[in-house]
Symmetry: D2
Subunit: 420 residues, 4 copies
């Protein structure tokens, strides 16, 4: 369906050639300051045509809030968001190549099998424009998470083709074992990531190598995939709903719903399968009493911090499907874009004949740099939804009489972050 | 939440020390033959204490259908399933080690942070017994899928620690490029997989090496992870709901909700990021007209097969989030089990002191062999739910007047498999 | 939440003073002709300022389809619908009467208790403009229902204050026992109803009496309630989902979600409680073999009609929560509008003082005439959703092998209406 | 579907002739004392065969908690509840009357139209035993509501056939205008209601008249309907989710999902349509500062009471779909039971012939006395779900920085009742 989330619910609409794309965000807490200025920056980071050198004031993809706020404050009612499509006229059906051949590894053919209607754009909603609604909704979730808990979500490119920022080594079969990676995710922020445009890999050398690598693929009309890593800091403990809606299950769902994704791993991930349990287990230690200069809702409300954190973090901040307060990090695999300008031998829709399909125009040879804000948005939606669910449970517990075998809920909410 | 699926909905209950575990399956098509005999075999494959040599008639984990069938036929009403717990008495609270220390990388601490109640079993629902309901429900879904479309779901172990059945090579960065792997998934079935008990890796040499590898970890009271690969054959095209419920997103969600999972990849997966688009793209070819000796509902109903299939299958049977009729395959990463008999230095629940936790008893050093039927069950739930959603859409289309720009729906249902 | 429906899902947004109101319709069958012309007529019937004499071309409340169609054909993807608000500027907060006093029996105070934000319009989403999205979505559902099964939904006013079209009598304690009522619902259609504007009560005498009655209330700055009866003809049998989503339960839910409603009754309703079971029971008779000149999807598909219908229809077309093919009819109670121009003594928001609130402007003294298209829209949404659910079940059954104890599903869909 | 509720979710299973009936309750707050003793009393009140004189310890319908509690305390995980069916053997199919004729106004025929399977019990899940799961789940919700807010839910019989406890009069067109009714609902409780067994109408005279009335119908093998009125006291303000899940919409949905219901009205209801707005409007007054001797979670937590209440209560405690803290009351219509021992002329399933159906055995001539605990249970489920939703919203607001245009959320939860 086109709805994501249980309590913080986002419903999106729109494909390539329609009047507008957008979404309705239902369940946003009332009483939060919110204007288009909170949303537009991530829209701009998602937009095509960015470059490291120039960021011209581009009026494209302007989001307009339709409802749910008044005088810049959320009312608690559904927030309608609309972004106009500039060129909304679908081309007439014709006898062109793209009408005869479904593009290999694109959604043209499966959409037709599913819906029985051949949209002029081919893959209908599989258009990259569909992600606009996600990014807009994610920006609203992020604003709340930041205000309430100081949550910081930062994604960045960790590989393009075979160029890796943290390649697996015998010593470090997974980045979760690599001190350099663990240090990076403690300190990384979006500002830093955007210094490494156009690739968004926060490492001078790797970034340059990746840029060259992509350029080479572009040169030969080919495309290449890559991975995006995302870290979420200051997530309160206790988020995630056993047993089917474990926090990593929802994150995986969210990420694999982004077009062109092929894989997801949390914490130690696939590499963690090769680490013995005795090393992989994260021992508990007392959480540091760092006072937390940051003013957040949890701070104001006097929400206590969890007493424990873990020494290592192979778990990626989630244990038993529930956040433990340590940074959550995960990696998402993006395949090489299907649309390439090279000639490809393939079959016609009716299977009657074989021929050569050659896509026109200039195509993005690698999607990972632009995927960064989309990954961040989906992460925000998952954490926000899980937080609201846990907040309700917490508040419900506070109205029960205290019992010997229970831990009394804090006067003021879900446990605070450990400010790692 | 404890419910999975939109149309074929499974709700489970139960933790370690309670009277019974089980589930309610809502949305099962009426008029299907169903008895406990359809469910018990997968329960047995999931059960602890299996071995390659002896399969004694073990009466443990007997499933009992409570409702929803009469005279062995489904009524269309909810199917209640119950499996009694043998030892349901939680131990009294005491001053024992496990009451003082949350087990590292286990769910003890996060469950307490979430619920504020300390279950005597520690992690409450994170118990492996929770998966019983999934396996029972999955068996019902599988039965329908088999009857209606001849769908076959087979999972098997592809790695234990660093021992891989198909290790990535420069030539084949991902198994999806490896002809041996692609041939295997065409032919593998459960009977074959179970010949390779206790490891369930269908390769004589790798299987033996894995068994030795696990034995070594057991010997030193340690544990190790591994991966399970699953293939789903004869899935009709058109399944998966854009944009948030793409078929791979739901599969990823399902797999990452299984305890101890750390990663999921579909088709070419993470390795596919390193393959150029020109090679990664799967060209379309005319689907073979293999008559399909197998009698299925789709066959009886005269459902046409899709006209196209793909030459290669880096997509893993899913394009644009929608199945294309080719085999769906994916890989799931399982971490090393957290409970080990080695002494581990960790902190007490209150963070006040540090100490050494030593788990008693014999623990499973590697979970992947027993994870096989759980992966299959969750795959069945996802495909079943997507199929019922698409069937409803298909039937709805059939009642519309034919239009020029649409492909008329077949008289009899969702497109049939291509019998690859 | 702001979402209605399981398979045909409508999500609405918008309050009084925002840029636009609208909705997203997810789950509409692909391949149906659909343009704004299919939706606008019901928007016009809902609009304020209609009269029996003149229907000037009024450009207000123009709906614009944003997505989900191409060349006038539904794609199967979400349909975004937007209606601009003409005056979207909320007035500044001030020291005015309406800011001091919550309006009695309005939503001002409860919205503040719920959200903690005081919208300048008072009751936020409780505005009548919120119903625009419902009516737009309902028109899409209706179009499908008509094409597929010839479903006809017609609502009309049956009482205003104490003026009843079919008052209960000792002989006919409920209209379901009244032959005149039963005949009316067989023949009524929207065209007829709109001949009785402005009241929409299809009886010359009652209509005139009601108009006078309303005028009298208007004259003394007072308001009055009334009831709307709705009939749905040609509904296929088998719709409604036991046990919580019985068809009447969903209809009741839908109707009681319309602003200002206070009651709902199906079939014989409250009056039926006074009829003995021996009379209340509807005996089955063979369904008439009327060929059905009407061309519908079910007709084209050769869908058989149910073999039985009922002689009487106290059940209101629903038995055991499931439609039986007979006309469904129900009645909805609307209270007198809360906003009246009379002075009302009430308390300030803070409870500190008491005072007199006097609403300015001309207010609608009775809402039932304009409620007619809203009732129809919500009825369409309920039936559409139930139909799509049943179509999926039906299609799923068709792929099972035939069994002795089951009735084989028709080759082509849910049973057809009995053309009563 | 068989699931009710968004946050407090109940999924039921079971029909007449199966091993057991029961449910899974998901979303119950953790840390609440709960044993079978909290549930059994309502099960007993629902049970057939009660009488005013003797209440022998009857071991029938014993509920057993399967999971979700430990040492009598809820864990926050799903609570499985099972009640064994005593006679679970469906009779063999035969050539009996009931196999040939669908019972008039029963669910036999519609279930067959829906599912295509003829259950030996006829209407499958339409059995009264299906309500067992509702009552069990409702008892859990009630326990929480009582502990947290002192919520009291009491239902009672207000009419049987034409015998009314509060018949409409010209002076009081609706009970909401009748001082005697308004006083009754302030003071009524279950203990009082059960003094009026077997009818459960808390009025000596009316009760006796109703008992005689029912006896007369029984005598002539006929049946009769009636109404149940329910009052919910001490509900906090702010519950109900605009726009589709208004509190009265959910209550209506819940009540109309109970077998044999035909109508629902809230507050002034249908009678309120005849009261002028100037009288119907409920003026606000300052809420009384009654200290509330009752110890509740809200009291302990220092939750402030709302500042306002209403002078009259035609609204029935709900305005704009949101509770206002005043008592919520509504009325539910139950039709005469369909199964009667009188001979009825009707048609066979195949429509081929007409004949006479005569039900054997003793049937309940009027269901309203036993419907009382079912109405209470469904009311509890609705209020509980709405409360948990609002608690989450409230807690979320507390983490936002205070703004000028918002009312700061109380430190401790949703507003308390006004102890009217």
């Amino acid at each position: 369906m086109s709805t994501f989330g249980e309590v913080f619910r986002v419903t999106t609409y729109g494909e390539s050639h329609c009047r507008s794309v957008g979404c309705i965000v239902d369940g946003c807490p009332p009483g939060m300051e919110l204007t288009e200025d909170d949303i537009q920056p991530q829209m701009n980071r998602r937009r095509p045509g960015q470059s490291s050198i120039t960021t011209p004031r581009n009026e494209k993809d302007r989001v307009a809030i339709q409802s749910g706020t008044e005088f810049g404050i959320t009312l608690g009612t559904p927030i309608g968001l609309v972004v106009l499509n500039e060129d909304q006229r679908p081309k007439d059906y014709g006898n062109k190549t793209m009408d005869l051949y479904p593009r290999p590894s694109h959604a043209d053919w499966t959409y037709l099998e599913k819906y029985g209607v051949k949209a002029s754009s081919g893959g209908g909603r599989s258009s990259a424009r569909e992600t606009i609604g996600r990014v807009a909704a994610g920006a609203i979730a992020e604003k709340y998470l930041k205000l309430a808990y100081g949550v910081e979500i930062t994604a960045f490119v960790t590989s393009v083709g075979s160029v890796h920022m943290f390649p697996p080594t015998p010593e470090y079969p997974t980045p979760s074992q690599n001190p350099a990676f663990m240090e990076l995710i403690q300190n990384i922020d979006r500002e830093t990531v955007d210094k490494f445009l156009p690739v968004r890999c926060p490492d001078e050398q790797a970034s340059q190598k990746m840029a060259d690598y992509i350029a080479a693929f572009k040169e030969r009309n080919d495309s290449i995939g890559g991975t995006v890593t995302c870290v979420i800091k200051n997530v309160p403990s206790g988020l995630g709903e056993p047993c089917f809606d474990k926090l990593e299950a929802k994150l995986g769902h969210a990420m694999l719903s982004i077009p062109a994704t092929k894989g997801f791993e949390i914490g130690s991930g696939f590499g963690g399968c090769e680490v013995p349990g005795s090393i992989h287990n994260d021992p508990f230690i007392r959480a540091p009493e760092t006072p937390g200069t940051q003013e957040t809702g949890a701070g104001r409300a006097g929400t206590p911090r969890p007493k424990l954190t873990t020494k290592t973090n192979n778990s990626g901040g989630i244990q038993g499907g529930i956040s433990n307060g340590a940074p959550i990090y995960f990696r998402v695999a993006f395949k090489p874009p299907a649309t390439i300008s090279q000639a490809q031998t393939t079959a016609t829709y009716d299977g009657e004949s074989e021929g050569v399909l050659e896509a026109k125009g200039r195509h993005d040879p690698c999607v990972v740099p632009r995927a960064v804000p989309i990954v961040e948005a989906m992460a925000a939606l998952v954490v926000m939804d899980a937080l609201l669910q846990q907040m309700g449970r917490h508040e419900a517990r506070r109205h029960l009489p205290p019992l010997k075998q229970t831990v009394p809920p804090a006067d003021s909410g879900v446990s605070r972050d450990t400010k790692q």
